[in-house]
């Protein structure tokens, strides 16, 4: 208690130095807090947009469908599976899809297309699909043979809402599938490549067109909390354990995207390290200066019978009192900035593309780790960096220090 009292009073002896040390620590903490909040916010935002935009957080397919897609690798009784999945706590929604390829013709223009059969209601709940329509309308209930086409495809075949398109494909029974579809709307997903071939049909129309019966190729699932994906993935796997179906989380079916995210997060640690370095140099400078200034005082303390360990404690207390105060102020600043940016975001003058998605603003996030990581970092840095000057103080030779200082 006495050493704590002495340490507390010591920090006011050189007010200006204490102020600048605290400023370094506050700056370091706040920067780290904002940078983690920013990184987490933008990554979660990107992951959210990427997964909720189309892929979903978890996907179910016939066991090797993702490696070798085929019209014959299907999921039977998808409605029953969907109902079971919805019983799992934390699942937000699910939707079923069918995929195939075909040729779409409008007037004299023909283009290869990716046929995607979607359940209008469930798809909208899962991916907010209606928001992607930039022209025309979403599917209307009870109307057959409506299609939505990607804006790139619309440009290639020069089709617009209301136009009639001929679609040719091969059905699952080996027959030639062909029919006429009316363009209900034009879709933009921000993934230009995808939009150049996407040809959305109602799930029922697609199954009928491709003669798939009650089968689909994919079930996409979204969850309430991103961090629960793996847990829910395991639960779904348990539900489907005696089937030929495989369950994959977004980290598995979007491996490249996930790897890119992880690499980017590595960059965050590098910037955190730079911040630590700045704090460390500031702290070392301050503590070393104050120790050297007070070497005679440490000599007196030792002469009076103070143990070296107590002197180390005294020096470390001093540095850590400043650190705790700085963390408190830094946390307030970090919280305020992260809170503001989590609401308003940072609008980018030029949007960027990540994983095929366009992003025009970056949002931050307020989470516990953006306070805990910088907090522990500042405290640990202070203790580690402060230990060497503290050791120097503890090793003071009382006879020498009293003679020469």
């Amino acid at each position: 208690m006495l050493f704590l009292k002495m340490a507390f009073r010591n920090i006011f002896r050189q007010k200006r130095r204490t102020f600048f040390t605290a400023l370094t620590m506050i700056g370091g903490f706040a920067l780290a807090c904002i940078s983690i909040g920013w990184a987490d916010g933008s990554y979660n935002n990107i992951i959210g947009m990427f997964t909720r935009g189309w892929l979903g957080h978890i996907q179910i397919h016939y066991k090797d469908y993702l490696d070798k897609p085929s019209i014959y690798k299907t999921i039977d009784n998808y409605n029953e599976i969907g109902k079971k999945i919805m019983e799992i706590k934390g699942v937000k929604s699910w939707t079923a899809r069918v995929y195939s390829a075909g040729l779409a013709s409008f007037k004299d223009k023909t283009s290869g297309v990716s046929i995607i059969g979607i359940d209008p209601e469930k798809e909208d709940k899962t991916t907010d699909f209606h928001k992607k329509i930039i022209n025309g309308d979403y599917f209307k209930a009870g109307v057959k043979n409506q299609v939505l086409i990607g804006k790139g495809l619309a440009k290639i075949i020069k089709a617009k809402a209301g136009d009639k398109i001929i679609l040719v494909s091969q059905a699952a029974d080996g027959s030639m599938a062909n029919d006429i579809f009316t363009v209900s709307g034009i879709v933009s997903t921000d993934d230009d490549l995808f939009d150049r071939t996407s040809f959305y049909m109602k799930l029922d129309d697609a199954r009928e067109f491709l003669v798939l019966g009650n089968k689909v190729h994919e079930i996409a699932v979204t969850v309430d909390k991103l961090k629960e994906v793996k847990k829910i993935d395991k639960k779904i796997s348990l539900v489907l354990k005696n089937t030929d179906l495989s369950v994959a989380s977004w980290q598995e079916f979007a491996k490249d995207f996930y790897k890119a995210m992880k690499a980017d997060k590595g960059g965050m640690w590098i910037s955190l390290f730079v911040i630590i370095l700045v704090v460390a140099v500031g702290v070392l400078n301050t503590i070393l200066m104050s120790v050297l200034e007070r070497i005679r005082e440490y000599g007196v303390l030792k002469a009076l019978g103070t143990r070296p360990g107590d002197i180390i404690l005294l020096v470390l207390y001093e540095a850590n009192i400043i650190a705790v105060f700085s963390i408190f102020i830094g946390a307030i600043i970090g919280f305020a900035v992260n809170y503001y940016l989590s609401l308003h975001g940072i609008h980018l003058s030029q949007s960027f593309t990540y994983g095929g998605m366009k992003f025009s603003e970056i949002m931050t996030e307020i989470n516990l780790r953006s306070f805990i990581i910088p907090g522990i970092t500042v405290l640990l840095t202070t203790v580690i960096v402060g230990f060497f000057p503290a050791l120097k103080a503890a090793k003071t030779d009382p006879a020498k220090s009293l003679r020469f200082h």
């Binding site: 005082e297 007196v300 002469a303 009076l304 019978g305 070296p308 009382p398 006879a399 009293l402």
Partner: protein, 234 residues
């Protein structure tokens, strides 16, 4: 001098220093003894090795050769931690430059050693009040050292040295920074406290006033003990 009463004993004590590459023989084979309760002084001109000898006796410095016994214990063989604890419990220091802790109040400075000894708050406070009265500083317990005169600061140092009831008080030039009136007052006070408490006082000094009050005077010249009559300063 009977062995029972001896509290400080040195045997062939030697200490060399290197200053700017030149070896200085600060203490050159000193043997002497001080009896318990004595008011003694090591005297001699500046640079004769008084402070070095005092540092060796207190264990603040280690001898190159020779041995030091305090209260029958060989301190020159003690480890750093043992020596810290021994100093804390057995030696009180009075420094020429006072060396009070500037961030502590008078009371906190005085009770510092008692705190290290683990003495309870009430006991500490009572002892501080008592010793402040003895050194004539009652009512100043909440002041900081910078708010005191030199003489008052030295009184606090004396109080700090004595409050934990050590066996030996080592005073290095305690009157050097004081005017002669204040110096005399403090020396009279220390002589009185020596009579009253029976603590052993050993001064390093070239102050005539100290020598006048000392019962034993060890005279040093060039790091060795010499006959006191032969030293001019005496």
């Amino acid at each position: 001098m009977s062995d029972k009463k001896i509290i400080i004993k040195t045997e062939n004590l030697k200490k060399d220093y290197k200053e700017d590459g030149v070896v200085v023989h600060a203490v050159r084979g000193i043997d002497f003894m001080i009896e318990k309760g004595e008011f003694s002084a090591i005297v001699g001109p500046s640079g004769c090795g008084k402070t070095t000898l005092l540092n060796l006796i207190s264990g603040l410095d280690t001898p190159d050769e020779g041995k030091v016994w305090l209260d029958g214990k060989l301190i020159s063989d003690m480890s750093g931690k043992e020596l810290s604890d021994f100093r804390r419990d057995n030696i009180g220091f009075i420094f020429q430059a006072y060396n009070l802790i500037p961030v502590l109040t008078v009371e906190e400075n005085i009770e510092y050693i008692m705190l290290l000894q683990g003495i309870g708050k009430k006991e500490r406070h009572n002892r501080v009040i008592e010793i402040l009265e003895e050194v004539g500083l009652s009512g100043l317990e909440n002041r900081r050292p910078t708010q005191l005169s030199g003489g008052q600061q030295q009184r606090v140092t004396i109080a700090r040295a004595m409050v934990s009831k050590p066996k030996i008080i080592l005073a290095d030039e305690p009157t050097a920074n004081l005017d002669s009136k204040t110096g005399t007052e403090l020396l009279d006070m220390m002589a009185e406290l020596n009579e009253k408490t029976g603590m052993t006082f050993l001064f390093s000094t070239h102050d005539k006033m100290v020598m006048e009050r000392a019962r034993r005077v060890v005279v040093l010249k060039d790091g060795m003990i010499v006959d006191k009559k032969e030293i001019d300063i005496v």
